[in-house]
Amino acid sequence: MQPVNLFDLASQQARWLSVRQSAIAGNVANANTPGYAAMDVEPFEKVLKNTSVAMSATHSGHILASTSPARMTVETEQDGVAILPSKNSVSLEDQMLKAGEVGRSFELNTSIVKSFHRMFLMTAKP
């Protein structure tokens, strides 16, 4: 699939990865909190589809409480990316694995942007 604009796509992925990093931070910080369910972001493909359609206004920090009284699960939203709860409590190893993924993807993302930016500047020089 040929992107409309590579820089836009990279921008969106960077945004999504940042939200994921924040979700992972929340999980690790609350690993010992009773009743806390691990959260993760919606898949990137969904984010791409959402931005192509006009985004319906959702107030940032929109909170939904689940009906179960024992566990307070929350859905929240950052930067246009939804963060959804799972059914499990936090496993630190799992979170470290995900953090590694985020780190690698982010590094690749910034390197790609840097390279194409450099090539662009090369051609635009006199």
Binding site: L6, L9, N109, I112, F116
Partner: protein, 108 residues
């Protein structure tokens, strides 16, 4: 983005064809010069096409990587070779343009 780069490389090609036109008016072993001219233009054409296609390849690989596919080495190789051919094409373009300017300044 690729379009913009194409037009910039096109400047080099235009300057090159102008140069070749100048060369044919000089008295020389006609067929040899003719042959050299044809292959030179063809070579430039090949370089420009090659550059554009490697840039497109790099763009495609990068787009795939950004959407989650994990052929990291493939992306890196594609981007590096795009940069190499781009750098080469630009160097050639610059040389051609400066040669053209030099020729145009020559007293007849």
């Amino acid at each position: 983005m690729i379009g913009g780069l194409e037009s910039l490389i096109g400047v080099g090609k235009t300057a090159a064809t102008k140069l070749d036109f100048g060369a044919t008016t000089a008295p020389a072993a006609g067929s040899k010069v003719g042959g050299a001219q044809a292959s030179f233009a063809a070579a430039l054409d090949a370089i420009a096409t090659n550059t554009v296609s490697s840039l497109q390849q790099a763009e495609q690989m990068s787009a795939k990587a950004l959407q989650g596919e994990t052929d990291t080495r493939g992306v890196v190789d594609a981007v590096m070779s795009a940069e190499q051919s781009l750098q080469t094409a630009i160097a050639i373009r610059d040389k051609i343009v400066s040669a053209y300017l030099e020729v145009s300044r020559m007293a007849i």
